[in-house]
Amino acid sequence: MKSRREFLKIWGVICLAIMLMIYFGLKKYSQKNFSKEKVAEIIAGKSKFRDTTTNLCTYQILGEPKVGKNYIKVNFWCNDNSKARSTLALVAFEDKSLKGILKEYARIIGFDEKILKEKNWYCTVNDKEINQKNENDQIEQAATIDCFERKGLRKHD
């Protein structure tokens, strides 16, 4: 290298240009593209690469969140004696209505929530039937939602 000083002059100009480009470019880009709706979509949007299931007893969420009583249990019971049992932290649910909880659970597990109505799943919260009258009620802490593939099916171990 002929002169370090000469090199650093050019280097300084290049770096300054990049810094200004990043600062103003990114600021403008984020102002143009950022919105709360976009954040919600990118975080909780459905994946086009993910398979959806029709067997609601195949998948569950493992683990017991350490959140005191701020949790809910969601259990699915199937005709073939299979089951899926999950305990979920309530803080992760924005819509805390019974309908909202089941919708979010369907998103997490990866099934179409319409299947519950189409296939006549019978759901209860703390052993009380969930129906059109109470589906908008807010869920209580430590509540248990049970969904049975058919009415009359019992919980099994």
Partner: protein, 466 residues
């Protein structure tokens, strides 16, 4: 000329081998979700492209926005106990460069929401980066110690099982490693040739390393120590070199501050302090743990005999003190990262230790090749080689399956030991037979590495590693 072409072909073959073993089952092993950082880095890059604001998993105090959400990507929550993920924005835990690489790649593949960034996409760039690291480690050794050490380093670094598995994980350390190795190469050349362009290269790579994670500052420490080693005192020339290096590197590192300023310097500062005050989980026994227990994540241990023997040789080398400049750079590299590891230490996540591994492997390879070339420390070279072979065999078969081979092992290993002791006492020259034996053992080592890697599938992982 033909010799050179032949060496280049071998170099490329080792890189292909490195890529091949890294690519096999890369999306399944290590089990996705055992480190959610892998997703977080990619989400940061993806969200930066999509919304202009970095969004990722943190949970650190000081963020203005937090959303708790179950994101069951790769359905990992089916197999691993999972709490909701604490998602923060604007995410400032680390600089965004790694996220831009892995998340950017996922974006190019069509990923638009977090659940789209599955491991089959996001891990691809990192296995390529890990393969480049293998190449750089080879280049450093080839330039400074000769082709044979480069070859040995390449073969070990390409196939050591823990290193291969770690090289599939999206962790900033995997991106810091090639920068660190490039700085070592550049400094080795600068000290040899005194050409300023090598110092420029070191400065650029050191700056880039800090854009992956602040621990990339290890490159600064290494350059500082290497230049100090050159002048042996703090004089005018020392300051000239350091000043020139810093003038190249610091503006690149400063890009992280510029980036932070876009989203508010207050948040940037809060997260920086929050990061600094993290729980010191590596504890006071960190040095023992470094040598004794190798991990992939916080709780997934996979003790790796290559790394353990590397530590033993490094400690031996510290006592003896290397005489060659490149040997000193290797030692300084280890000590620099050790300082950074101790200073930045938080939870004992396995990935914090990844940057030690290429250096330890280079040190080990140099030691083994010196035994081959000059018959140096022959008993120790055989002992290390047999120790690694024994550990590799133990991974492949249980103690009962091994019994039919026990007699051969008894006679073989104790015979080799006796032989090497007699050779060194009586100064007998049996170079051909020494080399033949070493070559057989070393081929067996690489073979058993690959054989073990081939055994690791999801079932083996759950039964033997998790």
């Amino acid at each position: 000329m033909i010799k050179k072409i032949f060496k280049l072909i071998i170099f490329v073959v080792i890189l292909i081998l490195a890529l091949w073993v890294r690519k096999r089952n890369y999306a399944e092993i290590p089990i996705p979700g055992q480190s959610v950082d892998e997703y977080s880095y990619s989400w940061v890059g993806m969200s930066l492209i999509e919304t202009g604001v970095p969004i990722g998993i943190s949970g650190l105090k000081g963020y203005p926005n937090e959303i708790n959400k179950y994101i069951n990507i790769n359905r990992f929550m089916q197999f691993l106990p999972s709490d909701p993920l604490a998602i923060n924005y604007p995410w400032m835990d680390h600089p965004p460069l790694l996220g831009l690489i892995t998340g950017g790649y996922a974006y190019l593949q069509g990923a638009r929401v977090f659940e789209d960034s599955v491991t089959v996409f996001i891990r691809k760039p990192i296995i390529l980066i890990s393969t480049i690291s293998v190449g750089l480690a080879m280049v450093f050794c080839w330039l400074n110690f000769g082709f044979l050490t480069g070859l040995m380093t390449g073969l070990i670094y390409a196939t050591a099982p823990l290193v291969v598995l770690s090289g599939r994980m999206i962790q900033a350390e995997n991106a810091i490693i090639p920068c660190f190795l490039a700085v070592m190469i550049a400094m080795g050349q600068y000290l040899k040739k005194k050409n300023d362009w090598w110092l420029v290269a070191a400065g650029i790579m050191a700056g880039i390393a800090t854009l992956f994670k602040l621990t990339g500052v290890v490159c600064y420490v290494l350059v500082f120590l290497a230049i100090l080693m050159k002048y042996k005192k703090i004089n005018k020339d020392f300051w000239k070199d350091i000043g020139f290096f810093a003038a190249v590197a610091v503006p690149i590192s400063f890009l992280f501050v510029v980036y932070g300023a876009v989203y508010g310097l207050d948040t940037f500062k809060n997260i920086l302090f929050s990061n600094y005050n993290r729980f010191y989980g590596i504890g006071p026994n960190l040095l023992l743990e470094l040598v004794r227990n190798q991990r992939l994540t916080q709780h997934k241990f996979l003790p790796e005999v290559w790394i353990i023997t590397g530590w033993l040789v490094f400690l031996g080398g510290l006592i003896k003190k290397p005489k060659e400049t490149a040997g000193k750079i290797l030692g300084l590299g280890m000590l620099s990262y050790l300082m950074i590891y101790i200073f930045f230490g938080s939870q004992p996540y396995g990935w914090y230790t990844f940057p030690f591994w290429p250096l330890l492997i280079m040190i080990l390879a140099r030691f083994l090749v010196l035994g081959w070339e000059k018959g140096k420390n022959l008993t120790a070279v055989f002992l290390m080689s047999v120790a690694i072979l024994g550990a590799n065999i133990a991974r492949l078969m249980g103690i009962f399956e091994f019994q039919p081979y026990a007699t051969g092992w008894r006679f073989g290993v104790s015979g080799i030991l006796l032989g090497t002791i007699l050779i060194s006492i009586l100064k007998i020259k049996v170079k051909f037979w020494q080399r033949l034996l070493l070559a057989i053992i070393w081929v067996a080592l690489i073979y058993t590495n690959i054989k073990y890697l081939n055994m690791i599938n999801i079932q083996f992982w759950w039964e033997n590693i998790s």
